[in-house]
Amino acid sequence: MSFLTFNIPMLSIFLSLLSAVICPMLPKKNQAFHLVRIVELIVLAMSVYLMVQLMTIRESFTYMMGHFPAPWGNELRAGPLEALLATCFSLVMVLSLTGGAEDIRRDIMPHRQNRYCLLMQLLYTAVIAMVYTNDLFTGYVFIEIAAITACIAVVAKESGHSTVAAMRYFIFSSLGSGLVLMGISILYCITGHLLMEPLQVAIADLCQKGLYQLPLTASAVLMILGLSIKSAQFPFHAWLPDAYSSGTTATSAISSGLVLKGYMVLLLKLILRVYGLGTLARMHMCNLMFIMGLLGMLITSVSAIRQENVNRMVAYSSAAQISYIFLAFGMGNLAGLAAGCFQILAHAFTKPMIFVGTGALIRAGQGRSFWSDIRGAGRRAPLAGIAFTVGGLSLCGLPLLAGFAAKYQLGSAAISCGWQTYPALFGLAVSSVLNAVYFIPGILVIWNRPPEGAVFPPMPRSSTYQHKISVICFLIANVFLGSMVGTVMMVINRGLQLFS
């Protein structure tokens, strides 16, 4: 393995971190915005190169942070799956920032814009570090960074609603990280390790000897609940609609596309690398996750139907998609985990596209985000309309789109697992129908004729080409994911084998 590939994980984290730290020092307003996107493109190129290299040599490597090997110093771990996730997250980050550029310029006060770019870059660094880290406490520190920056990104767009939404978001996320910290402490108390490989060995022999079983279950419950609170899983998703409907488009897109997925990647590591599927199944954690996912899919989709506000509806459908991932992880077999990873990627590309679309539609409509205001907005901003339509149809499961491939993988994984097969298939079918029930009317509304005598604010003729580029790239990525399912699944499966 060449010198470069070996150092790519560390370089990508440090490059994005130092570029975030330099942001406030840049004099001109737009410089920070361009620096952030350039760095993300560099990290994107590095991750693609790393993924290709790792796929050819078929192995994952651990990177010692400092002079001391595994149980003593920190460690990063990179495999094909981590590289694929880093690639997709970087791509989604760049496209969301480009798509939301117009809204950032309009919503956020000029002297605060380079601090907003700083927060977005720190959020991106936290997610990339969560993908690569091989140490639980480092994961907790970056969970905390993501929590702080995501909350303040919601407040960047100044309005009463956004401050209240950020407050509720911050309460829920500090609750989540408190639970995660307690889970890590209990785990360290009974095993004495913080790094994931020695931890797995220690837990395996603990289960063998039957020692400290209750504290082990307690730490698993705490960590899974903490991560589900932070990723707006069903019982704890109250903060999500307010936060995503009152932030700027870029914030909502990045939070739904990236931040929720970062916690899911940590959950995947917990399942595969720390506890192992066997111990989790024996502790009934898989069933807990499965039931939470199933209920979440149905109930959040139902509450999405009742929403009059476009952004709130899209936010509720995000919560439903997160429950898909929980359902997949709860199936307790490798096929389920692979389907979960594919769902992470599919949702990471679909939801930001919808948010970018709705942002432009609201600007093209009468300025407020109720259905009556964006009636006929699709005709004034056709590309945004297409983005919203394709995103909606992909979530409803139209073939040749990412959503359909994700549901297909989920279905095939459900067939090969025990009692969960029929509930999972039932949940999939019903939630797809519910998706259609609230997305299709939305699509019809935006392509409808605008109401007579409706006064439309003047269409901003500036910076639409940035928005065009991001929507087109999103569409291409979506169709690619939907059609080239074979290659993506091959990378995911190989990554999962090398993961633990």
Partner: protein, 302 residues
């Protein structure tokens, strides 16, 4: 305030169309004539009514939710308490030398800690050399918090000087104490790797020294030296030096190349490789952060 709310709840039972805000304004103006409120309300345009309609659902659901909230919370906390009591009973015995967490990992930290990191205070050696990536994430958390508080609280308009009460005695005593506090802070930071303390606690003490200087000398005199941009500049510079130093040691460590940093004589101040400069960087970051928090929170609320 609460009785307003109860009165509003009773009032809204038979006049569902009235929103809380209008109710409060009406009550202040005409506390007793309830019926006149209803007519006055009708002329508002259709849009606000639609908005109120949407909010009425929220408020109704909010009331229903609050009642079940109280019962639910008592139940949940009882279950959680019993569960955690059981867990804490079954944990490894407190203080027992054969606990699972006193294993070969801690043996190496204690035995080889001195010669590997050169720091006699093993915790400082652990933070800044064995697990340095956590501490780097840690300083980034501080930096993110500073930037967020600046984004939240800083007013674009220049804020007039906060009239902190000028008390001669306090001022004199403050002036005498400032050098002592700063000296103690610098001592704790510089001796971080020899005695208990280090970047975080020393930085906080230095931060408190700066806060004391702010209170005693007032904002205007201190603003000459510690302007907000200069503070951010210093924090950014320290974070970059920390990143470069640690980046160098990560890359050389992982690829087993590069120049071995001299550990120096244990017990001397310039002794343990990068740990001293890192401690100074972390100390300055923490001091600037605490001072920024203080100066932002103490701006007059006009």
């Amino acid at each position: 305030m609460l009785e307003d709310y109860e009165a509003y709840l009773k009032y809204v039972a038979d006049h569902p169309k009235v929103s809380f805000e209008d109710f409060r304004k009406k009550r202040e103006k005409k506390p007793r004539q309830a019926p006149s409120v209803v007519e006055e309300y009708d002329e508002s345009e259709e849009d606000a009514a639609m908005e109120a309609e949407w909010n009425e659902g929220h408020i109704h659901r909010m009331k229903m939710w609050q009642r079940s909230y109280a019962v639910l919370s008592v139940l949940v906390s009882a279950v959680v308490l019993v569960f955690f009591f059981q867990v804490s009973i079954q944990l490894p015995p407190f203080g027992d030398p054969t606990n699972p967490d006193l294993n070969e990992v801690t043996e190496r930290y204690i035995e080889k800690g001195l010669e590997e990191t050169g720091a006699t205070n093993i915790v400082a050696g652990l933070i800044l050399d064995y697990r340095a990536f956590d501490t780097f994430g840690e300083s980034t958390v501080l930096f993110a918090a500073t930037m967020s508080v600046i984004l939240l609280l800083r007013r674009p308009r220049p804020v007039k000087d906060s009239p902190i009460p000028r008390d001669r005695i306090l001022q004199m005593v403050g002036l005498v104490m400032i050098p002592a506090v700063m000296m103690f802070g610098i001592y704790v930071v510089l001796n971080g790797h020899l005695s208990p303390g280090g970047g975080f606690s020393g930085g906080t003490v230095m931060g408190c020294g700066l806060i004391l200087a702010y209170m005693v000398m007032g904002r205007s005199r201190l603003e000459h030296y510690l302007t907000p941009n200069r503070l951010t500049g210093v924090t950014v510079a320290c974070l970059c030096t920390y990143g470069v130093l640690k980046g160098y040691s990560f890359i050389t460590g992982a690829n087993h190349i590069g120049w071995e940093v001299p550990k120096g004589k244990p017990g001397a101040i310039f002794s343990s490789g990068f740990i001293l400069p890192l401690n100074i960087c972390v100390g300055i970051i923490v001091a600037c952060t605490m001072y920024t928090f203080f100066s932002l929170f103490s701006e007059r609320e006009d």
